[in-house]
Symmetry: C2
Subunit: 466 residues, 2 copies
C-alpha cells in the first residue's frame, strides 16, 4: 500500500459529503498547505496515491500560482495519463511551463488517440518540438499522421494500436500470438479480421475468442456485421453510430479502405459528453465551459453573445418606438406588452430545444420536417388559445377593460403560433446551411418573438383600442 | 445474404444524403406502402435485414395506425433486442397491443438490465403478468429483484449475468471453464475475482487473460483498483464514475457487499446521453423529448412550464404597473426598459448554464462556491460596465438626452451584477436543497432579472429624470 493512503482515507471521510471520489476539500487544503510551505515530501505523499483522473481534477482546481508551484516541485508526477485527463486550458498552461522533452516522454506511453488529444490544441511550433522529441519513430509518425486528419474527426479519435489478423488463423494461433507479442494496445475488446488488402472483413470479440476451442478458425467465429468508419467522419457521427448500435469499438479505415485504427467506447463517452455539453452551452449563449477561467477572460468570452443580444434588443425597442404615440395614449400597454413577448419567447424556446436535440439524435430528418412543422403549428395554436384566454382574462379584469383583454389575447395567439413555427424553422434552416443549429438559433428566435410580440400587441391596440 | 438486402442497399443509396445508417426515407416510404397494401411478405422482406436498432427507429417513425398494423402483421419480428432499443412511449403502446406471453418470450433472451428497462415503466399489474410469463425461473427472480431497486439506480442498470471466480484459479482453468459454461453473459469485457464471501476483490480484463500463460493464477494478474458501486447508487453518479475513470465495466454490490451484478459502458453511454438531454430539456422548459408525441399531448406537456412563466411575467408587469405614472410622463422609458431586462436575462442565463453544467460534472463543489461567486460577480460587473456605456450611449444619442443615458447605464450595471450573482446562487441553492438545478432555475432567474431590471430602470428614472 503506498504511503499516505490511510491518511488519504481519513481525508476522504472528512470531505466525503460532496460525493467526490478521489478528491476532497480536505485533500485540496492539505495540498495547498504543502505548496505554501514548499514541503515537497509532503506534497508527493499526498498526491502519489491519486488516480490519474483525480490528480488531473486536483490540478484543475488549484489557483494558477499554486498550479505553477506544483509543476515546478513535482512535475515528474504529471504522467501522460494525467495530461490526457486534464482540461484543455489548464493543460496548455502546464505544457508551457515544462520542457518539450519531458512532455514527449510523458505522452510516449499513451495510445495515439490520447497523445493526439494532449498536443492537438498547441501552437504548431510547440507541437513540432514535442513531436520531434518523441523517443519512438513509429509513435512520431503515427501521431503526426493522426494530426493530419481534421479536428473532431474519427482520425483524431482513433488509436493506431490494434490487433488485425487474417481469417485463416486459428483461435490457438491467435492466443499464442497475443501471449508473445510485445507491442499490444493497452486495452482492447475485440480483434479485427482483415483480408490480404488489409481491409476489415470481420470482428472477433475477446470473449468469443476465449470461449472457442483452439483449432477453430477466426473466419468461423467472426461477426460480419461491421460498422466501418472513414477517418474523415465527424466525431458527432461517430458518437451517433456507437450509441445507435451499442458498439464497444469500431474499425477506422483510410481512403483506400485499409484498416488504420480503432475507436473505443471510452473515447466516445467523452465525445458524447462534449457534444451534449456543446449544445447546452450554445443554447445558453456561453462559448464554452469557463469555470476554471479568470474573470477577465470569462467576461471577454461571453461578451460577443451579449453584444449580439443587445443588437436584437435594440431592434425590438425600435418596434416599440414606432408605437410611442399609442403607448402615450394608453400606458397600460407598456405594462402588458412584456407578457406577450415573454410567453412567445418561452414557447418558441421549447420548440427550439426539442428541434435542436432531435436534429442531433437524427430523430428529425428531412423526410419528417413537414410533419413536425404541422404539429408545432398546432401546438403553438393550442397553447396560444389557452394563454390568450388566461392572459386576456387577467388583463381585462386588471384594467376593467374587456377590449384590452381581446387585444392581449389576439396578440398572444399570433405570437405563440409564430413562436412554434420559428422555433422549428430557425434550427432547421441553420442545419441545412450546415451551421450548428444550437449556436445562433436562440438569439434569432427571441428577435422574432420580441418583434412579433410587440408588433402584434401594439398594432392591434392601435387599431382597436384608440 | 438475407433476401431483400441488395434492394435495401439501393434504397439506402437513394436516401443516403440524410446521413442515417440503416434507415432511409425511401425505406420508410416502401414500408408505409407495404403496410397500406397489407403486403405481409413484402413487409417482412423489407424489415428482416434491419439491425434491431434501426428497426426500433423505423417503428418510432411510423404513424400510430401504421405502427399498429405493423405489429399486427409482423409482431413476431419485434424481438427483445428491438424492444430494448425502442423509445418508452412507443414501446408501451406496442406492449399494450401484444400478448404478455409474447412479450415475455421476447425479453427472455435479454440480459437482466435490458429486460428491466423494457418493463420498468409498465403498470404494476401488466409488469406482474409479463414477469409470471417469463419461461425461466432464475430470470423471473433476477428481473423482479432488480426492479426492487429504486428507479435510475445502479440496481436497475446492472446485468446479473457476469463471471466471478476465486483468486486461486489459474488462467487455464478459467479459459476451460468459459469454453464449457453454457449460461454466460452476451458480452463481457472482464472477469471479477471474488473472495469466499463473494465480495469483489479484483478484476481481470479479458485481454490480460488472453496474454497470460495457462498456469498463472488470477490473483497474480488481477487489477486491484476496483470501482465498486452500491446497488442503490443513482445512475448520474454511475455515469460520473465511468466518465472519470474511463471504465469499461464495474461491479455492483448489494447491502452485504456481495457481488450481485455488473454495469457495462454501453448502458452508461445511454445514461450519459439521457442525463445531458435531461439538462438540455429542463433548461429549455420542456418536460421531455416529445417529437414522437401527438400535438395535443405535446401542448399539454409544455403547458405547466408556460403557466409558471405567465405567473412570473405578470409579476414583472406588476412592477411596471407601479411606475405607470413615471412612464406616462416619459414614454421613452417604455421603449428602453425591455433592453435592460433582456440583457440581464441573457447574462444571467450564461452564468446559470455554466453553473448547472459544473454542478453535474462536479467541477463546482461546496468548497469552490465562494470563489466562483466572487468571480461571477466580477464578470457581471465588468460586462455590466461595458454594456452600460454602450446602451447608455445609444439611449442618450437616440433621445438626445444624456441624463436618460446615465439612467439606462446605471440600471444596466445593477441588473447585470444581480444577474451574474443569481445565475449562480439559484442553481446552487436548488442543488443544496436536492432539487435538480436545471428544472426551475431558468424561470426563477428571469423573474429576478425582469423584476430587478424594470425596478432599477424605472426607479432610477423616477428619481433622476422627472
Amino acid at each position: 500500500m503506498p504511503s499516505g493512503a490511510p491518511e488519504r482515507e481519513a481525508l476522504r471521510e472528512a470531505g466525503g459529503g460532496e460525493g467526490l471520489y478521489g478528491l476532497t476539500t480536505a485533500l485540496l487544503r492539505a495540498v495547498g498547505e504543502a505548496l505554501e510551505r514548499g514541503d515537497e515530501a509532503r506534497l508527493r505523499e499526498l498526491i502519489a496515491p491519486l488516480h490519474a483522473a483525480d490528480l488531473a481534477d486536483l490540478i484543475e482546481r488549484l489557483r494558477g500560482d499554486e498550479r505553477h508551484r506544483l509543476v515546478a516541485m513535482a512535475g515528474a508526477i504529471v504522467s501522460g495519463e494525467v495530461f490526457a485527463f486534464i482540461e484543455d486550458d489548464v493543460r496548455e498552461a502546464i505544457i508551457r511551463q515544462l520542457d518539450s522533452r519531458d512532455v514527449a516522454a510523458a505522452i510516449s506511453d499513451l495510445d495515439t488517440d490520447d497523445a493526439v488529444a494532449v498536443i492537438e490544441d498547441l501552437d504548431p511550433p510547440q507541437q513540432r518540438e514535442i513531436l520531434d522529441a518523441l523517443p519512438d519513430r513509429a509513435d512520431r509518425f503515427g501521431v503526426a499522421e493522426s494530426l493530419s486528419y481534421p479536428e473532431n474527426s474519427a482520425g483524431r479519435l482513433m488509436q493506431r494500436e490494434f490487433i488485425s489478423l487474417p481469417a485463416f488463423w486459428t483461435v490457438g494461433q491467435t492466443i499464442d500470438f497475443m501471449r508473445e507479442a510485445e507491442d499490444l494496445p493497452h486495452d482492447f475488446y475485440e480483434i479485427f479480421v482483415v483480408n490480404p488488402r488489409q481491409e476489415p472483413i470481420g470482428t472477433v470479440p475477446l470473449n468469443s475468442l476465449l470461449r472457442t476451442r483452439r483449432p477453430v478458425r477466426l473466419r468461423d467465429i467472426m461477426g460480419e456485421e461491421l460498422h466501418v468508419i472513414a477517418a474523415e467522419t465527424d466525431q458527432e457521427e461517430v458518437g451517433y453510430l456507437f450509441d445507435q448500435y451499442d458498439l464497444i469499438s469500431a474499425p477506422v479505415v483510410g481512403a483506400s479502405g485499409r484498416l488504420i485504427g480503432v475507436i473505443t467506447v471510452d473515447d466516445v463517452l467523452d465525445v458524447a459528453r462534449e457534444e451534449a455539453e456543446e449544445d447546452i452551452f450554445r443554447l445558453g449563449g456561453v462559448p464554452e465551459a469557463d469555470i476554471y477561467r479568470a474573470a477577465l477572460q470569462t467576461a471577454g468570452g461571453r461578451f460577443i453573445w451579449l453584444l449580439v443580444n443587445l443588437a436584437t434588443a435594440i431592434l425590438a425597442s425600435f418596434v416599440i418606438y414606432q408605437f410611442e404615440g399609442t403607448i402615450d395614449q394608453m400606458v397600460a400597454l407598456a405594462v402588458l406588452m412584456p407578457i406577450v413577448a415573454s410567453m412567445g419567447g418561452n414557447a418558441g424556446t421549447q420548440t427550439l430545444t426539442v428541434a435542436v436535440r432531435a436534429i442531433a439524435t437524427k430523430d428529425l430528418t428531412v423526410g419528417s420536417i413537414r410533419r413536425v412543422l404541422g404539429k408545432e403549428t398546432i401546438v403553438g395554436l393550442l397553447n396560444g388559445i389557452v394563454f390568450a384566454v388566461l392572459t386576456g382574462g387577467v388583463a381585462a379584469a386588471w384594467y376593467g377593460n374587456p377590449a384590452l383583454g381581446y387585444v392581449v389575447g389576439g396578440a398572444m395567439i399570433i405570437n405563440m403560433l409564430v413562436a412554434g413555427m420559428f422555433g422549428l424553422i430557425i434550427p432547421v434552416v441553420l442545419w441545412r446551411l450546415r451551421i450548428d443549429p444550437a449556436t445562433a438559433a436562440g438569439v434569432l428566435l427571441t428577435t422574432v418573438t420580441d418583434v412579433i410580440g410587440f408588433l402584434a400587441f401594439l398594432g392591434l391596440a392601435g387599431m382597436f383600442l384608440l
